[in-house]
Each structure stands twice: as structure tokens, then as C-alpha cells.
Symmetry: C6
Subunit: 219 residues, 6 copies
Amino acid sequence: LNDGVRQADEVGVVTGLAWTSVGGETMEIETAVLPGTGKVQITGQLGDVMKESAQIAVSYVRSIAEDYGISTDFYKKKDIHIHAPEGAVPKDGPSAGVTMVTAITSALSGIPVRKDVAMTGEVTLRGRVLPIGGLKEKSMAAYRYGVKTVFIPEENKKDLEEVDNVVKDHITFIPVSHVSDVLKGALAHSPSSKRKKPTPPSTAPIENAPVKIDSISIQ
Amino acid sequence: LNDGVRQADEVGVVTGLAWTSVGGETMEIETAVLPGTGKVQITGQLGDVMKESAQIAVSYVRSIAEDYGISTDFYKKKDIHIHAPEGAVPKDGPSAGVTMVTAITSALSGIPVRKDVAMTGEVTLRGRVLPIGGLKEKSMAAYRYGVKTVFIPEENKKDLEEVDNVVKDHITFIPVSHVSDVLKGALAHSPSSKRKKPTPPSTAPIENAPVKIDSISIQ
Amino acid sequence: LNDGVRQADEVGVVTGLAWTSVGGETMEIETAVLPGTGKVQITGQLGDVMKESAQIAVSYVRSIAEDYGISTDFYKKKDIHIHAPEGAVPKDGPSAGVTMVTAITSALSGIPVRKDVAMTGEVTLRGRVLPIGGLKEKSMAAYRYGVKTVFIPEENKKDLEEVDNVVKDHITFIPVSHVSDVLKGALAHSPSSKRKKPTPPSTAPIENAPVKIDSISIQ
Amino acid sequence: LNDGVRQADEVGVVTGLAWTSVGGETMEIETAVLPGTGKVQITGQLGDVMKESAQIAVSYVRSIAEDYGISTDFYKKKDIHIHAPEGAVPKDGPSAGVTMVTAITSALSGIPVRKDVAMTGEVTLRGRVLPIGGLKEKSMAAYRYGVKTVFIPEENKKDLEEVDNVVKDHITFIPVSHVSDVLKGALAHSPSSKRKKPTPPSTAPIENAPVKIDSISIQ
Amino acid sequence: LNDGVRQADEVGVVTGLAWTSVGGETMEIETAVLPGTGKVQITGQLGDVMKESAQIAVSYVRSIAEDYGISTDFYKKKDIHIHAPEGAVPKDGPSAGVTMVTAITSALSGIPVRKDVAMTGEVTLRGRVLPIGGLKEKSMAAYRYGVKTVFIPEENKKDLEEVDNVVKDHITFIPVSHVSDVLKGALAHSPSSKRKKPTPPSTAPIENAPVKIDSISIQ
Amino acid sequence: LNDGVRQADEVGVVTGLAWTSVGGETMEIETAVLPGTGKVQITGQLGDVMKESAQIAVSYVRSIAEDYGISTDFYKKKDIHIHAPEGAVPKDGPSAGVTMVTAITSALSGIPVRKDVAMTGEVTLRGRVLPIGGLKEKSMAAYRYGVKTVFIPEENKKDLEEVDNVVKDHITFIPVSHVSDVLKGALAHSPSSKRKKPTPPSTAPIENAPVKIDSISIQ
Ligand SMILES: [Ca+2]
Ligand SMILES: [Ca+2]
Ligand SMILES: [Ca+2]
Ligand SMILES: [Ca+2]
Ligand SMILES: [Ca+2]
Ligand SMILES: [Ca+2]
Ligand SMILES: [Ca+2]
Ligand SMILES: [Ca+2]
Ligand SMILES: [Ca+2]
Ligand SMILES: [Ca+2]
Ligand SMILES: [Ca+2]
Ligand SMILES: [Ca+2]
């Protein structure tokens, strides 16, 4: 029951959660940052709403660049490519916002993303996290994938009562109202410790991370 | 009855009012100003008319930049991103004009927007405020959201008689014929006092602000 | 019967006349000139023909820039935004050509437009004024708006016989075959007197202006 | 029977001939050359084929620029605007090619176009003139307009037998197989004599011009 | 039976062969090379496949530029315009690839194209020649036009048995598997001899040209 | 049974495998790298998914450029043209991802591609290889074409049991989970040996190449 998650923390890739007519699914967001001239490329057969999510995510990360040690002129010296495999499956909706913000921040800062974390939530331009649909189905997909922690919008906290008990036994749900709390919990280390030598993979549970949010563990 | 409004005056975000087939709704407009090259980005599934409203708002603010201490070369040194959450809901119509002008002026000048203010009105390129529809429904949404002051077009003053009494008891309506009057009333301080140290949140009612407009208090 | 016209001569705004299935209407054209890089923006839900009218108007004004004391490099140092309120109403047709030429010339030269003037006529790239439809209905709208002078295409002179007598009693119609005659009559002063100090609002009727055109007064 | 043609030779405007379901029509092509950066603008509700004609005409004139004393770097220092009034009438087809080449060459070289000349013919990229349809109807329109000379494609010479006798009595038809022959006949003077002082309006009939083409006079 | 072909070798124009529902047709491809900034323009109502053929042809010629004495920075100092008369006839399909490569190479190198040559064949990005349809009909059109030599794809050699005997009597068919062989045979001289003074029109049959290909003469 | 494969290792061309309603097909991907300004051109009537595959492939190769001795500023000094002959056949789907990555890497590094290799597999932005459909049919096409080695996605290993025995007798299938393993196996030599003098065509079977992957030989 743990064959899906990545084998190590990686830079620029984050596990999102999608909700389709046939149930929940994990959906990775990959981001590549390349020497360039400020172009943003978005692939993966994304619909209009999801393309806008990517644009919002890029603008949000530009607005917090300094906090994460990201050179503020990356908008003209780097190209950003955001991709959602599998390339032939059409995807849409705003709920990958937090996933995209996390993937882009990781790719630009070089800070890896914790491998056993998933997330879902619309993001607004100033980082507010808005509610999403399909929490029950998305949670089940996260559980099957082997995820240990799932970030959800604060306003979806009430939907946790519909989540299967076996899922609640294995996953810690962290409700957030601002994407900065997702970044604090999902990135493998804080920006200030960025230039230190790589630490061994964290074994501490995510609850111990310095996250100032309403963290609840569901039984 | 006050759980919707922001907890403090913020920069670049303004509460607008929308009118749909199922009633009125509050709709925030968020604006981010980023180091850039003069690009304007508009997201939130906006229709053609509302996209044009954003373009008109940007041009209007460019024409008054100096009055608000905004560097006049921002059109080539800054990118502006205007977003209307929720990203999956299609939106259209010209009545967010005043909201967009206020959000952009705030974002570029750094002057916060009063947290308990909402507004509706089309704006023309030279700042005239044109009438809108659905005042009754929009007012009800503002009331439910906890708004204290609503700017409306002068030509909609006559529609106030259809607004519910409970709404009129709690909200001060300020009719305006030019968007400069909205800016004077909705921004937390005047441009000239901009570089002073932050003042404590204003407790003075908006009627005391130096607004040279026909301000009426409905009972 | 005079509540529509502007209260003073203004720069960059001109009253046009539109003809719809329900009668004539006044339609203002607003133009803003902004420090920029030569972009032309057109808003107001204009159809293809009317967008082309705006492009023709811009090119025509570029070709006469020097005559109006307009810096000839404005095409690369200024952005021009042309707007036709109300933003939600679709508009089309070539007959706003003269209105657009006048609004752009005023905005670029800084010469105000006489407040009690309206106009209608297609313009070609070299300034010829072509005939339009709906003169009877357009004239009625101008009369109701409080307009004193209306510029019409020379080829529409014959249509004046269908115009209501009450309209002819109050409005002076000036047929023109070239848009330069509109500019001479509608701008508040000549380019040569441009740098003088502002004169008090002209009280002289437009018939006294140095217009070398076939000016007729209808009784 | 001569009220349509221009009153003097003008720069950048040429009378073309169109063929519609209701007969022939004259159709002017206007060209403005403006200080700029090499943009080409095309207006007049032109269809795809006619827009391509304009692009071909621009490229052809670029290829012969030197022969007409046109600065060869105009493609980056000038903007060219090509317009076909009336702006609300959709137009299409390749037969305005020669008209466009002549209008652009005149506008760029400053050499006026003879006022009593009309023309029709598709042009290829290397200047070949291809046949057109509707010669009978187009000729009648030229006659009604007061035109004295009409350039037609060599391959349409055989269609002259269908042209009305009254038309043949008043118009000289000049068949051409290359657009350079149109330029030689339709421009008011040759490029070499360009910098001389303006000559009085030519009264010499076009037959006397140094046109090395198969010029035929129809009785 | 020889009234179609050009009267002399010309630069930048090549006779292609098209296949329509009503039979074969000759179709010239014209190419103009102009001082510019690297733009490629394609006209003649070409469909998507044929537009891509033109792009492939341009890229292929860029890759062999040096071999033909073409300045390798032409991609930023020259504009290329490719046109397929007649402008009102829609055209599509990949089989003009060899024709376009030849026309562009000629236009850029200044080497004329032999006047009595025609060709058909799709070209890939590395110059391979792929088979085409309608050889029988295309050959008949070439014969009627007065063409002496036709380049065809190697894989269409087998289709020569269906070609009319009268056609085979008058035309030499040269099957090729790479477009470099077309260039060797269709250009009037080799790149190395380029700067010599013009030689009199070649009277030597094309079989004598230094073509290292499988040249077959059909009787 | 070996008439399809290229006669020598070539730079920038790779044999892919397509699956259509009528069976499997080989489909070459050609890539040309030209002095330029960073443009990417994609031709061959590719659908949206396949165009995105090309964009992903370009971004992936940009991210590994240094490992293959590719100048990291090629994104602004080179144009890349990716073509899938035959130009008239519409193509779509994500499974040419590995083929495109290999073709682009070869074209940019100058390292030839082994002539008797084919491949199929979707690629993600960080190089993961995702499963594809139609392995049985694609394998048959590879066999008929004379291919000796086929790279397939690791997740398609299970589908090998449905592949015909005659195919398994002649082709070595190499399952891969990352495209870097395809590059190691399909390029004719490693980047480090790049500047050595050309070696004679490798006769060593691909199994001997330093591929650190799960290479299985099917009997
Ligand atoms: Ca899946
Ligand atoms: Ca939602
Ligand atoms: Ca809502
Ligand atoms: Ca309205
Ligand atoms: Ca109105
Ligand atoms: Ca009209
Ligand atoms: Ca007409
Ligand atoms: Ca035709
Ligand atoms: Ca033909
Ligand atoms: Ca084909
Ligand atoms: Ca095939
Ligand atoms: Ca697939």
C-alpha cells in the first residue's frame, strides 16, 4: 500500500488530487525551470480554468519570491514549464492551485517537496485557499497511493466526516486557509536553511514541522 | 453578521458585488503588481465585457498615476495581474469597473483598501461612473457579508427605494458620478499621507472622510 | 432639454450619434493618451467594422500630426486607448469615423472639443467623409441630448428634408466632405493658438468659427 | 458623366474596379505611409484572398523599391496602411492586385496617380498580371465614373468584344501582362523626374506616356 | 505545344504540378527574398498541409545554406515571401515540397531555375523525397505546358507505366529520393560557378547535368 | 526483411512507432537545429497532444543540455524544427515523447542515433516514461521495418506476452522507466566520447552498450 509515492523528496514535482466521474485520482504536477527569457509554458491538455490556475500560481510565487530566496528577476531570466501528465488526458478545474504553487516554489527555490504529501485546493492571487469538491474520493486515491499527509482547504474541514475510516487511520489531514501554510508543511526544509548541506530524509512526522496551522489528525 | 469582510485593510483587494440569476453575491477583485515589463494578465474566467473593464481600469489608473504617487513608468516596469476568484465560475458584465480601478490603484500605490467597503459601477475611460443593474440583490449580499459602506452609481440612487429596510439600516450608500470619489472614500488614506507611518485602523465612519460627494445615509 | 451635453469643453471626448433598431442614440467616444510604446487599445464591445474605423482614425491622425502640433513620434512613445461606453452594449458600423478622428486629435493635441457639438460620418484613410444612414433618428437623439451643432456628411445633405422641424429649429447642421472641416469646427481652438493661456469658454456660435465649409442653418 | 474621378492627381489613391452580383463598381484603394516600424495594416472588411493580395502587393513593391527611388529600409522605418472604403461593405477576390501595387508605389515614392485612370488585375509576387472576371460590368462602372483609361490583364483582351460600344467610345483599354507597365502608365511622372518641381497637371492623354505595352484604343 | 513555360531561366520561380478533381495542372511557386528581419510569409490560399510544406522547405534550405553560397544569417536579415498564384484558388497537400525547396534555394542563391523543368514530391526535413499521387494527370499537364523534364519521387517510378505514351515521348522523367538531386538538376548552374558572368541559356539537355541520380528516359 | 531502416546512423532522426485503426506503423521523427533565435517549429499535421509532447521534449532536453555537451544558451541561439513525415497524415497522441527527446538530443549534441533502433513511450517533464497502447501492433511494424531493438515503457513489459513469437525472435525489447536510459541505448556513442574522430559504424549489439536498465531479450 505504498507503491505510488516517490522514493525520495524531489524538486519541482508535487502530488495533486483529482476528482473524475469514476472516482479520485492522484495527479502529479511537474515544473521545470530553465535558463530563458520569462516564458511560461503549460502542457498536459489543461482546460481554461486550470491554465488560469497555473498563471495565478506563477504570479503568486513571483509575489513571494524574496521570502524563498528566489532571485526576483527570474521572470525575465528563466522560463517555467508546468506539466500535468498523462499528456492525453484532458484535465480542468481550479483545485490544483496549491499543487502548482508548491511545485513552482520548489522548482525555483531548489527546495525539495516531501515525497509522502498530497494536496488539493484553489488558490487566489494573494494566496487564499478556497474549497474544493470530491474530498472523499480524492482522499481514497491519496490513501491507495501511499500518501501520509494531505493538505485540504480550511472550508473543507467539515467534509472530513464523510471520508472513509481506513483513510483517516492512515492519513493526517491538514486544513489550511492560506497557501503559505502548505509551503511551510510540504517543502522539505525552510528557505533559511537552504544553503546548508543536505540533511538525511526527515523521519519526523509532519506534525512536528513549524506549521502554525490548525493541524488535526482524524481517527 | 460580519464574518465575510477582511480582518484588516489590505492592499490590492476590493469587495465587488455581482448579480446572478440566483441573487446577489460578493465578488472580490485581487490585484498583484509584480516587477515586470508591462504585461497585464486577467484571470477568473472573465467574459469579454469584464476583460475590457479590466483594460479600461488599467488605462484609467495610468492616466491618474501621478496623483496617487505611482511611478509613471510602471507601464513598462511592472506587470499587473487582476484576478476574480472563484476561478471556475464564469463572470461577465461591466459593473466591476469601479472595483477594478480601486484594486489596481491600491496595488500600485500601496495604499490599503478599507476592509468594510463594497462597490459596484461601470467606469468609462475618463472615470465617469455609469449605472448598473441588480442593486437590491447586490445590497442584500453586501449586508450578509458584513459590509458597512457601499459605493453605487449616482444614476442608481433612485433604485435605493427598492432596497430592503434591514439593509438600509446597516449600510451607508454613497452615490458617485466619478470614480475619483470612490478612490477618496475607499482607500484607507490619501496619497499625500502615503509615506507616513501606518496609522491604527480607522474607526471614523466613512462619512467623515474628505469625500466631496452626495453621501446619503439610508434608514 | 439640455441635460446631456458636457458642462465644459473637454479633451479627448466627443459625442457621436448611433442608429439602432429602436431609434437614434448619442454615443460618446473617449480617448486616453498615455505614456507608452505605441499600442492602440480599443474597448466597448465594438464589432469588426467599428474596430477598423478606429484603426483608420489613428492612421489618419498620424498623417496629420504635424498640422496639430502633435509630436510625430507619438506612435512609439504613447499608447492610445479608444473606448465607447457603455461597455456591455455591442456596437458596430463605420459612422463613428469622424467622431474617433476628432477624439484622437483632441487627446493627442490637448485641444478641447466643444461641448455642444455632435457628429456622424464614415472617414476614409485620406480623410474623405462618406455618407451614413439614420440621419433623422440620429438628429432627434442629438436634439434630446441638448446638442447645438451636428456635423454630417455632405452626401447626407439631401436627407435633411426628412429631419423633424423642431430639431431643425434647434440644431445647426454642417455638411462636410472632409474630416479636416470637422476638426476646424469641433475643436475649441486652432492648433496655432495652442500654447496660449486658456480662454474663457467660447460663447460664439460655431457658425463664426473659421470653417471653410458649406455651413447651413436649417429652420 | 465625369463627377466621380478625383479633381487632381493624388498620391496613394487609385481607382479599382469591382464586380458584384448587382454589377460593376468602382472601388478606391487608399494607402497611407507613416513614420513607423514596418507594420502593415489592412482595413475595409477585406476577405482572406484580398488581404493576401495586399501582402503580395507590399512584397512586390519592396522588391522594386530602388527603381522608384524608395528608400529600401522603409520596411523597418515606415508603417503602411491600406484601406478600401466603404468600411462596412465586405470585399474579396484577387483582382485588386494591380490597384494595390500602384497605390503603395505612389504612397512610398510620392509620385501622384493620374486621376482619370482605373485598373483591374491579379498580381503575382514577381509582377505578372493574371486575368480577372466581370470585365463588361467593371468597364461600365468605370465609364459611369468618368474614367478615361483602364488597365486590364493581357489575357482579358479577348473579353473586350463583350464590352458596350458606348464604353469603348470613351475609354482607352490598355492590356498588360506585367504590373510594371501599369506603373509606367498610371503614375503621373517617372521616378527619375521625381525631385523636379511639381509640373502643372498633365493634360497629355495617357497614350502619350512612355508605355512600352500593347496599348489598344477601342472604338 | 510550348506556350506555357517561361521564356528564360528565372530566379525564384519554379513550375510545380497539382492534381485536382478535374485533372492535373501546372502550378508555379514564386519566392521573393527581401531585406528584412527573418519573417516568412506564405500566400495563395494554401491549406494547413501546404503551409507546413513551406515551413519545412524554408528550414531545409536553412540547413543547406552554406552549400549554395547563401549567407547563413539570412534568417535574420531577409524576409522570405512564398506565393502560389492564382490567389483565389484554394490549394493544399504536401507534394509541392520539392518545388518550394527549389524556388527558395534559387531566390536566396540567385541561381536561376531551368525554364523547361517541372517537379512534384513531398520533402521531409532532411531532404528525403516521399511519393505523391496523380502522376498520370500531373504528367499530362506538364506535357501540355511544354515542359521537357519532370522530377518525380523514386517511389513513384512504378507509376510511370500508367503515363500516356505521347507524354513519355516528350518528357524526360527523373526519379529522385533526395531533394538535393532536384536542386542539382533544376538549377541553371552549380553554386561554385555562381559568380561567373551569365552564360547563354543552356541548350544541353538536363541529362548531361552532373546529376548522380537514377535518370531514366521514357520512350 | 530489412529494407526500412536507415543505411547508417544519422543525426536528428529517430524511428518511432504509431498505432492506428489499421495496425501499427513506423513513424520517423526528424529534427533540424538551425542558427536562430530560440524558435521551436513543429510540423507534420500533429494534434494538440503530440504538439505538447514536442514542447515537453524540448524542455526536457533543455534541462539535461549540459550532460550532453549541448551549449546551454541554445534556447536563444538556435531554432529547432521537429517534423513527422508524411506531412498530409494527421497524427496525435503522447507516445512519441521518447522519440522526440532522442531526436532533439541527437540534433543538438551531434551524436548520431543507432539506425536499427525504434522506440515508443510518453515522456513527462522530468523524464519519466509512461505506458502506451498498441504494443503488439507497433512491434509488428518494427519487425517488418527491420528494427533490431525496441525501447518500451517499463509498465508495458507485461504486454510483451501478446507480441508475436516471430517478432520476439528478431527484436530485443528494452523496458525503461526513464528516458535517460533510452538516450544511453539509442545514441551511437556517449557524450564524453563526442569530440573523438568518427568511429566505424558500431557492429556491437546494443545489449553491450553501457545501459544500466532492465534489459530483457524475448525468445
Ligand atoms: Ca492515472
Ligand atoms: Ca470550486
Ligand atoms: Ca461565491
Ligand atoms: Ca449596464
Ligand atoms: Ca444609452
Ligand atoms: Ca455606410
Ligand atoms: Ca459604392
Ligand atoms: Ca481569378
Ligand atoms: Ca490554372
Ligand atoms: Ca501523400
Ligand atoms: Ca506510412
Ligand atoms: Ca497513453
